[in-house]
Amino acid sequence: MAKKTISMRKDSHEESVAIIEETQAAEQTETAAADTDTAAETAAAKPNDKKPAAGVLGDAMKRGIILENPVLRLVLGTCPTLATTTAASNAIGMGIAATLVLICSNTVISLLRNIIPDKVRIPAYITIIASFVSIVQMLVKAFAPALDESLGIYLPLIVVNCIILGRAEMYASKHAPALSALDGLAMGVGFTTALLCMGTIREILGAGSLFGAKLPILSSQPILFFSLAPGGFFVFGMLIAAANKLSKKNNLPVRNGCGDCPAAATCSLSGKGGCR
């Protein structure tokens, strides 16, 4: 049993390691270390290349939620993470909206990956993403007006969420539509999980309630700090610290650095070890 999980994890690492190789990272020492790992890992992962559908799904989910959690491990999409997590229900709403956009845009971009010219791919991606955001916006306005009210400006701002453009650039433009849709789902679930986690903490501490239901004791004297902007930064920092600690304890691979950043190609910091 234990062996099986280990080989599964190694298998899903292939993806991230391949990305590291491609970016020709400037941090040679780190890359060199990763490369030696790669060789061992690819060798170990070779035998079960063709996996049943359930295995592929499990791998993608594990990658999206734990190994490459877009919020806690790759630190993408910080704006909605901080802004929409004052209540757990808002966090879920934001997560589902972003997941829908991610699945649809990943599928369409993957279908068009051989047609879109390389030079204008970013504007093309943005147009596709913006169309789906508009659709989701209309759906939310029609069927969940209360959610539309509480998400406000952050709903149209899904367009500029780095997670969506990042997955388009790093995954959907290189993989088949079905795999890309699955990747979108997994990343979306990872995003929603992280948002829910943060929303729950902030709602319990900041408002003394959970999903709108008042909790005993806590609701009599809620700590307003956690509902306000500074509390968002603080809880996010603590969650990332916890994620770092856990991943170090379990020997998870280092983050991909600039590999997953949509701006890496144009960013002046990507050659200097990234902005983090």
Partner: protein, 205 residues
Amino acid sequence: MNMTVKIVTIILAGILTNNYVLSKFLGICPFLGVSKKLDTAMGMSAAVIFVMLLSTAVTYPIQRFVLEALGLEYLQTIVFILIIAALVQLVEIVLKKYIPALHASLGVYLPLITTNCAVLGCAILVTEDFGSAAYASFGEGYAYALSCAFGSGLGFLVAMAIFAGVRKRMESCDIPETLKGLPITLVAASLVAMSFLGFSGVVHM
């Protein structure tokens, strides 16, 4: 309210009470990413102010005279992001050709701004706050929208400058292993945001 007073109020609100970064969480990525050094922080902020003003100057009339006139409000998101992306490209080309000195200092930040949510957020927010529903006369609404864009950009600059100073002090601190890197940066951002809470209620719109 007198128009001049109102413009000053809007600008002050953008800097102190409605700070985009510290109270509305717009533009967090550059806020955390390029605030390590004061000069890069200033370069990025200057580029943001410039693009924010320019994009608002273009999107506001388009919202009123094209989208609203034709009943196409639902296309706002897609139209605005394309305008911003095209504008950023255009600005980069023009700067490269005619003002290479400015391009050398701002150029590296320009492509990053396309995906900066503060710019798109500002363009959308001003059409809500100062749109045709609130101000029937175009000139008045346009003036307020532009001053809001300028004030928000200045607020971004102030937040970046303060935070760059805080991070510089932090470099010499003894930080627990687990908190090194991003976590302690976020905690510092939390403290800066808390200090800005003190301004709440200073400016009344």
